[in-house]
């Protein structure tokens, strides 16, 4: 027990004493994910939107005096154009080249004709909006103009409303916000979390076990009277702490950038999860990290070098990814049997937590099973540390 703490202390001192290691394993992954997703999200948005405070520059012909004040409230700098209709090539050229964002053409005597018009009798007065769909600013100008005109049309001939006050007053959409968000997150997040845990573990475990073996430093530990089990458990616990940090960093990077990636359309529903959900999630993640670290430690202990260990670990990643993807395709059931298979139970239980369908008993079983699995793997690792074939094979 005492020696196990000594080993843990040393492993943590090794990790935290190395600024570069801390940066590359615990900070960089999260930072990279955050930057990547944020840039991706912003790139997407820039495609479809304009900067918030952009003032469009547009021409207007025949601006009705009644509408002048409300038109001037739009984020548009109007310039009166009093050429004839159709618009001259000169103006259309400017719009095509992006120098102007558009042209709004009211017909002559628009207000009178419009107010006098009866539905279904002859042609209604036509307002024309020239724009350039390739320029997002021009597109924004068009939407603003259309919205303005729609409102005008509605206010002139309002016969009935649909869902009046939606958004601000009533909530007509009865789908629960939880289940929409939950389904999306429930499918994706377990896989993300599993891969983050995995990458956190592979960042440190092969180096700490296969690396020490390769460099001959673990042999120095083996000539001390320390119990092999203390070494095995000390390694597993300390590596789990570090892997948890690395995984957490990636996790935060994702969570913080998700809202940007999803734009405003999707309201990130993290707020709908309760403290209990988070607590259960943490317990599952913790137990998953222990199992993953133990598996990777075993593989590393069997390998002769860090390189060999990394190669041997690759298939394990495939297994994890495949298992994690099952819920996304609604494959693989939950239930008591699933709870008994380490790692698979993590995926299913996390899926349950994110889709608000978890039961505390599932989580408890999952965590216990994973702890037991980690314990058994720790026992095997102890055996490997005691085996001269494993530790001193040439």
């Amino acid at each position: 027990m005492n020696n196990m703490l000594v080993i843990i202390k040393k492993e943590l001192a090794r990790f935290f004493g190395d600024k570069r290691l801390v940066f590359t394993t615990a900070i960089m992954p999260g930072l990279l994910i955050f930057l990547m997703y944020t840039l991706m999200g912003e790139g997407l948005m820039r495609e479809f939107t304009t900067e918030e405070d952009y003032i469009a520059k547009a021409y207007v012909r025949n601006m009705p005096a009644e509408l002048e004040s409300s038109l001037k409230e739009l984020p548009v700098e109007w310039e009166i154009w009093d050429g004839g209709n159709p618009a001259s090539d000169q103006v259309l050229q400017e719009i095509a080249e992006g120098e102007r964002d558009g042209l709004l053409v009211f017909p002559d005597r628009f207000m009178q004709d419009m107010l006098a018009y009866e539905a279904g009798q002859g042609e209604a007065p036509n307002v024309e909006i020239y724009y350039n769909s390739e320029e997002s600013n021009s597109g924004a100008f068009r939407s603003a103009a259309v919205r303005f005109l729609d409102q005008l049309e509605e206010s002139v001939a309002n016969k009935f409303d649909i869902n009046r006050g939606e958004g601000s007053l009533g909530d007509y959409d009865r789908v629960s916000e939880q289940s929409v968000m939950g389904q999306l997150l429930a499918g994706l997040l377990p896989m993300l979390i599993m891969t983050f845990i995995f990458s956190g573990c592979t960042a440190v475990a092969p180096e700490s076990i296969a690396g020490e073996k390769e460099r001959g430093t673990i042999a120095t530990l083996l000539v001390t009277p320390m119990k092999r089990s203390a070494l095995a458990l000390g390694k597993i616990v300390s590596l789990s702490v570090i892997a948890l940090l690395a995984g957490l960093s990636s996790f935060l990077g994702t969570i913080l950038s998700l809202p940007k990636l999803m734009t405003d359309e999707v309201d990130f529903g993290a707020a709908s999860y309760t403290a209990l959900d988070y607590g259960l999630l943490f317990a599952v993640i913790l137990s998953t990290v222990l199992v993953t670290v133990a598996v990777i430690s075993l593989i590393s202990a069997g390998a002769k070098s860090v390189k060999e260990a990394s190669t041997a670990i690759a298939p394990f990643l495939s297994v994890i990814v495949i298992v994690s993807l099952l819920p996304l395709f609604h494959l693989g059931g939950g239930g008591k049997v699933a709870d008994l298979i380490p790692l698979y139970n993590s995926v299913m239980t996390m899926n349950g937590i994110f889709s608000f369908e978890s039961s505390v008993s599932d989580v408890v079983i999952t965590v216990l099973v994973n702890f037991a699995a980690a314990g058994i793997l720790g026992g095997i690792l102890t055996k490997m540390f005691s085996s001269e074939k494993v530790m001193f094979n040439r």
Partner: protein
């Protein structure tokens, strides 16, 4: 005289992989590294295992240090069996070979403290011992330098000092002066003589005759995993130089083997 190291009929056979078979240029699937080896080292003496490359010296010392298990036979160190109670054996001996490396990342200070904890040395004793050993080997000036940045000789000295954190009564060294320059080698051999003066029992292996002549009380000449001769230095040499005697013994035994 107290028999501090008793080696009885030790045997060790390695399975050879295909790769090793090629390296050793043999078709045999196994290699008998140590073959019924017995000898005794007494308290307070320096015992030297002398032998050519591949004689089985390192394998023997590793079995005594409990890093590998003998196939048969046993050894008692201070009365404790390497096969039955390896943990106690490890707490009683200091074992050093060039294969045991220290982590480059840490400083001698940190590592000394770390290994002192693993050996269960009380804090105040550890500090006093560090003080003494570091100044003796000139490590004190480098006490906070990462091991990775030390010279080969300084690294060896740190390894040596750390293998003795717990002040063991039995010290087992595989090739103690390998890779050291004459100055550093002398520091090490002088230190071994000091340890003997303190009543420690030292078992070392080497293929360097002069080292044996300088510090060993008794010698065992190992050839092909077997003990060819084992006696005090004077009796083995019988007036001749150790080198001449070694070749005589070797011719006899190698002749036997053919």
């Amino acid at each position: 005289m107290e028999e501090l190291i008793q080696v009885k009929e030790l045997c060790k056979t390695f399975k050879l992989s295909a790769k090793q078979q090629k390296l050793e240029k043999t078709k045999e699937k196994t290699k008998v590294a140590v073959d019924g080896l017995s000898f005794t080292a007494y308290k307070g003496e320096v015992f030297g295992l002398l032998g050519p490359n591949g004689a089985g010296k390192t394998t023997t010392l590793r079995m005594l240090a409990t890093l590998i298990r003998p196939d048969s036979g046993d050894a008692l160190l201070d009365g404790v069996s390497v096969t039955k109670d390896p943990e106690t054996v490890r707490s009683r001996i200091g074992f050093l070979t060039s294969e045991l490396k220290l982590e480059d990342f840490f400083s001698p200070n940190y590592l000394f403290q770390f290994f002192a904890s693993l050996y269960g040395v009380p804090q105040d004793k550890a500090l006093a011992r560090r003080e003494e050993l570091f100044s003796r080997f000139g490590i004190d000036r480098f006490a906070e330098v990462k091991v990775g940045d030390l010279s080969t000789g300084m690294k060896q000295k740190v390894s040596l000092v750390i293998s003795l954190v717990h002040d063991p009564d039995i010290i087992i060294f595989d090739e103690p002066t390998n890779g050291l320059d004459v100055l550093t080698a002398k520091v090490v051999t002088d230190f071994l003589l000091d340890l003997r003066a303190q009543g420690k029992t030292i078992l070392l292996s080497t293929h360097i005759f002069s080292l044996i002549e300088k510090i060993c009380d008794r010698v065992g000449i190992m050839i092909s995993g077997k003990m060819a001769v084992c006696d005090t230095l004077e009796k083995i040499c019988g007036g001749k130089s150790l080198e001449d005697r070694f070749f005589e013994v070797y011719r006899e035994k190698a002749g036997d083997l053919e």
